[in-house]
């Protein structure tokens, strides 16, 4: 039925690769056009100025959704890549999150028990929502059979999956902030700080911002085999899989525009003026880039365009690539601990204060940080370097006065902060590179340089993601689809937007 349909996927990020693979598997002839010199997007390894190969922008993830691994016959990320999370403390009493439990010198039995209960509870919420995240978000009016089925399943999962009591609890906490929930559950500020960190990293939200329970649920994968991993070779795996399924990949192919004739998408034109005609075009680019840049408002309704333009997607995380002279020596981070995911978010007030600045276009005085130091065996071609990657927040896209002369000042803030937690760190830095959200915008072709192609507030989620009128992977233009993190269920290295989009496209043809 679909054998000779020609499909173009704009952008070979992980979602583009997943979507392309599913479509190729379904018998479509798929061509990926990637603007950069390699596919993988935020998962693609970064080669720094010294030639070191570093983890991509998303240096840690839970890996793709299990269903996708199964469908595409992909291996789960090897266990040796798995990461524990160590939340650093100034006094050295760090706490470790591993295997759904928390440990540390000062952790009380009560908190440690609460943590297991908390994970258990959130895991159930996450399972109840699974049917929503792995499906096309239903429309609320003019529903088709699938929409009704999804809605009924969600209702069923909430009522019978969770049970009356937990359903009520979920309806209570679902829309609120992580700050209140954590205060209800824990005593230890460090546990609260670390969980809040996960709820806000990548967003322009603080722990007190309502919606952070949702962003936490969307961020964390609670599956048994889904532990946090370095996502080093994910892009290679996906690229090889796509190719093996017959997907053609063309890199260094920047899109100039998507060709729309009489409301129907006919193909794309590259900046090189080359034209690719196709039956379907699927955009892995963010909604703003897709609609405002590639399609053009001339082909769209005015209020729809305004909604797209109003999407909040100003990034707030900077990436720092580091070359170190030597590994840090810290008695509290001995052996393997040094190579885990180290975070700095000692308590919720700290995180909230860090966030406060971003509201006014300032970077944080005391940023929240996530650092991964590479193991020796993972080092790139230049084996003499010791490298590390840092995600530093909050570093707003719309910094007052621009990033220009603030770049060094900000990096100094970051290093000063680390110094407090890992004494001697400052002196170990040989060189660094900073990617601000503006650089990320530029290099990854994503407006605002936002990790998730748009904040994950409720108002920009589900059937409102990226905007209503284009929330079911379809767009106002016939034969043009979205498959990126702009679409439901949003950012993170889950592959779900790509998976769901493929489902919708196969259904539509």
């Amino acid at each position: 039925m679909t054998n000779n349909l020609k499909v173009i996927v704009i952008g070979g990020g992980h979602n583009g690769l997943v979507c392309a693979s599913y479509l190729a598997k379904a018998g479509l002839s798929v061509q990926i056009l990637e603007a950069r010199d390699s596919v993988g997007g935020a998962c693609a390894p970064i080669i720094d100025n010294n030639g070191n190969k570093l983890a991509g922008l998303a240096h840690a993830s839970y890996g793709l959704n299990m269903q996708i691994l199964k469908d595409l016959d992909l291996p789960a990320l090897p266990i040796q890549l798995s990461l524990d999370t160590i939340s650093l403390s100034e006094d050295g009493s760090h706490i470790t999150f591993a295997n759904n439990s928390v440990s540390g010198r000062k952790i009380s039995e009560r908190d440690s028990k609460s943590y297991r209960g908390f994970i258990e509870e959130f895991k159930k919420y996450s399972e109840a929502l699974d049917v929503l995240t792995t499906n096309i978000p239903p429309r609320l009016k003019d529903m088709d059979w699938h929409d009704k089925k999804t809605l009924i399943k969600i209702g069923w999962n909430l009522r019978f999956g969770l049970g009356k009591k937990l359903m009520r609890e979920f309806l209570r906490v679902g829309g609120i902030n992580i700050f209140d929930v954590l205060n209800e559950k824990f005593d230890d500020p460090a546990i609260k700080g670390a969980i809040a960190f996960d709820a806000v990293l990548g967003h322009k939200m603080g722990p007190r911002t309502p919606n952070t329970v949702l962003s936490y649920l969307q961020k964390i994968s609670f599956g048994e085999n889904n532990s946090l991993c370095r996502s080093d070779n994910l892009s290679t795996l996906l690229e090889e899989k796509a190719k093996s399924l017959g997907v053609k990949i063309l890199t260094n192919s920047k899109i100039d525009r998507i060709i729309i004739e009489d409301g129907i998408c006919k193909g794309v034109k590259l900046e090189s003026a080359e034209i690719f005609k196709s039956d379907l075009v699927i955009s892995n680019a963010d909604a703003k880039t897709t609609f405002l840049k590639f399609v053009g408002t001339e082909y769209l309704d005015a209020m729809f365009s305004h909604r797209v333009d109003s999407i909040r997607q100003e990034g707030a995380v900077a990436r720092i690539n580091l070359c170190l002279k030597a590994l840090p020596k810290d008695q509290n981070l001995e052996g393997d601990k040094l190579f885990q995911r180290l975070i700095i978010a000692p308590d919720m007030q700290y995180v909230e204060h860090a966030f406060n600045h971003s509201k006014y276009g300032e970077y944080s005085d005391h940023p929240i940080l996530e650092m991964i130091i590479n193991r020796v065996e993972d080092r790139g071609p230049s084996v003499n370097s010791i490298t590390a990657t840092i995600s530093a927040s909050f570093a707003p896209y719309d910094l007052k006065g621009g990033w220009g002369k603030n770049r060094n000042l900000f990096v100094n803030r970051v290093f000063e902060t680390i110094e407090k937690y890992i004494p001697g760190f400052n002196n170990l830095v040989k060189s660094y590179e900073l990617l601000t959200p503006c650089d990320i915008e530029e290099q990854y072709n994503c407006v605002g340089g936002h990790w998730h192609h748009g904040e994950m507030g409720i108002d920009q989620s589900f059937m409102m993601r990226p905007v209503h009128g284009s929330a079911q992977y379809k767009t106002p233009c016939k034969n043009l689809y979205l498959c990126g993190a702009s679409a439901h269920p949003g950012g993170g290295i889950t592959g779900l937007p790509g998976h769901n989009a493929a489902k919708q496209i196969i259904r539509a043809i």
Partner: protein, 537 residues
């Protein structure tokens, strides 16, 4: 000793509303009040000789006209006089005036941004859509989403039908409105700082959230969906101060044969066999009744006047986790004359309405940042009114009473409140006003400074929260006050709740009191005396 069908604990406006409807249905009702005056937060107190202060709530618009009519409050002495507009002063000496006359208002907005003047048309229409929807739910009992009882299912069907009267894109916009921050919501319409700030203020009054916190757009509705004589969004003064609301309600209640006892603090609700049987007063007196109705907030009700051992465990936990953050203060001032506001032209009508001094979203948000760290805002958002410009009953001729609502003020600053801090807080507010009015400070005869601490101590609002519980998604509709207990029935048999801790929440609305009465009368198989929504189609 006398026997009562029902005892209402607390003579706030919801307690009195509730009691009046019960008495109207023929029940024998006793209202117990701990203070020597009734009204709770709707009180007019003479705190300075010859001056009457509306020292807590100060304006009135949400009070349901249905209740007003069915309790005949006009004949019982209530007069609500509409306010005329509002003004936001700018730091640069200019101002944005909000006039009721539509051409004036339009021209004024256009003075700041021509585009915003036109966008206001779209904003008004959209806001009215959401108002219409929500207003229809105010005088109804929320259904329990986890229940399968026909009544809940029918009510859900009713809500869904209302919801589905919207078009598809309006449905999504409504959900967005519910979950967005007021700042982000308004930024879809407006560009001018002062206009954004002007419209945002109503969204943070009384809440522990900032203008950039998701969920605040909805709070705007609590300040926009009220009406005076059908003019949606307009506000009114109760002539004689807010105490007139309580006075009219009590007069109506007494006319139905009710009894009010002041200075009668309840120590606890007596319970036997998981059934509320009566109350024990602080004096030791015990009064029994068939229904015990608490008009106290959920925290006080379940943590203070019921023994923990009498309650299911999860209720105690929920009550402890109930969010009822004090975030507001109040400064009430007796003035020797009318202050002059340098920015305003002579004889401007703008002093007749609400006055504000926060002209950017950033200032509003920074005010919130202070509060998050348990400090009062160094540059607070104030909502200031001078009702004596129209109300001759509250101050001597030529003199004025000024009511200044202050957002944000912490429940307890570092080290707790003391007189010095209280004065410093008051000075912050007075200095802010003084920056815009050169003669203001010289006119001050007396000032009453109220922090959340005073509000809690005197009125009994826990933490001084004016809504008796935050208006966040986790505490709205069927979640208010707790999931599973949103239908005004408590966890004990014959125990009910009628305070603003229940749907539809705070504001001088009377709706929780009326809704609770409807449920109680249902249980007692009495004729329903509570009114239905007037509707507007």
């Amino acid at each position: 000793m006398e026997n009562f069908d029902a005892i209402v604990i607390g003579a706030g406006h919801n307690g009195l509303t509730n009691a009046a409807f019960l008495a109207k249905a023929g029940l024998k009702v006793l209202v117990l009040e701990k203070n020597e005056y009734i009204g709770g937060a709707t009180a007019s107190l003479e705190l300075h000789k010859n001056w009457k202060y509306s020292n807590c709530s100060y304006v009135c618009s949400l009070f349901r006209p249905e209740i007003y009519q069915s309790l005949d409050l006009g004949r019982h002495g209530l007069e609500v006089v509409p306010l005329q507009g509002s003004v936001t002063f700018k730091q640069d000496g200019d101002y944005l005036g909000s006039y009721h006359q539509s051409d004036l208002w339009r021209r004024e907005v256009a003075r700041h941004s021509k585009k915003d003047a036109d966008a206001a048309v779209r904003f008004d229409a959209d806001l009215m859509k959401w108002c219409r929807l929500i207003r229809g739910f105010l005088l109804r009992t929320p259904p329990d989403p986890a229940s399968f009882r026909p009544r809940d299912a029918l009510e859900f069907a009713f809500l869904l039908k209302k919801f589905y009267s919207l078009s598809e894109s309006e449905l999504y916009e409504f959900i967005r409105f519910f979950t967005m921050s007021i700042a982000n919501y308004l930024e879809q319409y407006f560009e001018s700082d002062v206009i954004l700030a002007h419209f945002s203020g109503g969204s943070i009054i009384g809440t522990g959230l900032g203008v950039y916190s998701p969920g605040t757009a909805y709070v705007l509705l609590h300040h926009a969906m009220g009406d005076v004589d059908g003019n949606v969004g307009s506000w009114g003064f109760a002539r004689g101060g807010m105490g007139s609301v309580a006075a009219a309600l009590s007069s109506s209640f007494l006319s139905f044969g009710g009894t009010i006892r002041k200075s009668s603090e309840v120590k606890k609700i007596t319970v036997s066999n998981q059934t509320a049987t009566g109350v024990e007063l602080v004096s030791g007196e015990i009064i029994n009744a068939n229904a015990i109705i608490s008009n106290l907030d959920a925290k006080r009700t379940f943590l203070k006047i019921i023994d923990e051992s009498d309650l299911p465990e999860d209720i105690v936990k929920r009550a402890k986790n109930f969010k009822i953050r004090g975030s507001s203060g109040k400064v009430n001032i007796a003035l020797d004359g009318m202050p002059i506001f340098s920015a305003l032209p002579d004889k401007s009508p703008l002093t007749l309405g609400h006055m504000h001094f926060s002209d950017t979203l950033e200032r509003l948000e920074r005010a919130y940042d202070d509060w998050k760290d348990d400090r009062w805002s160094s540059d607070p958002y104030v909502d200031m009114v001078i009702p004596t410009q129209y109300d001759p009953t509250m101050a001597p001729p030529g003199k004025h009473m000024m009511s200044v609502f202050v957002q944000y003020c912490p429940v307890s600053p570092e080290g707790g409140w003391d007189d010095k801090k209280k004065k410093a807080f008051g000075d912050t507010v007075i200095n802010q006003i003084g920056d815009y009015s050169p003669n203001f400070k010289d006119l001050i005869l007396h000032a009453e400074i109220r922090t959340p601490h005073e509000i809690e101590k005197e009125v009994g609002l826990t933490e001084g929260n004016i809504f008796q519980g935050e208006l966040t998604l986790d505490q709205l509709m069927f979640n208010r006050p707790f999931p599973g207990y949103a239908q005004y029935r408590g966890p004990l048999k014959r125990m009910y709740m009628c305070s603003s801790s229940n749907h539809p929440g705070g504001g001088v609305m009377g709706a929780p009191g009326a809704n609770a009465a409807r449920e109680i009368l249902r249980d007692f198989k009495r004729k329903n005396t509570t009114p239905e929504d007037f509707g507007d189609d």
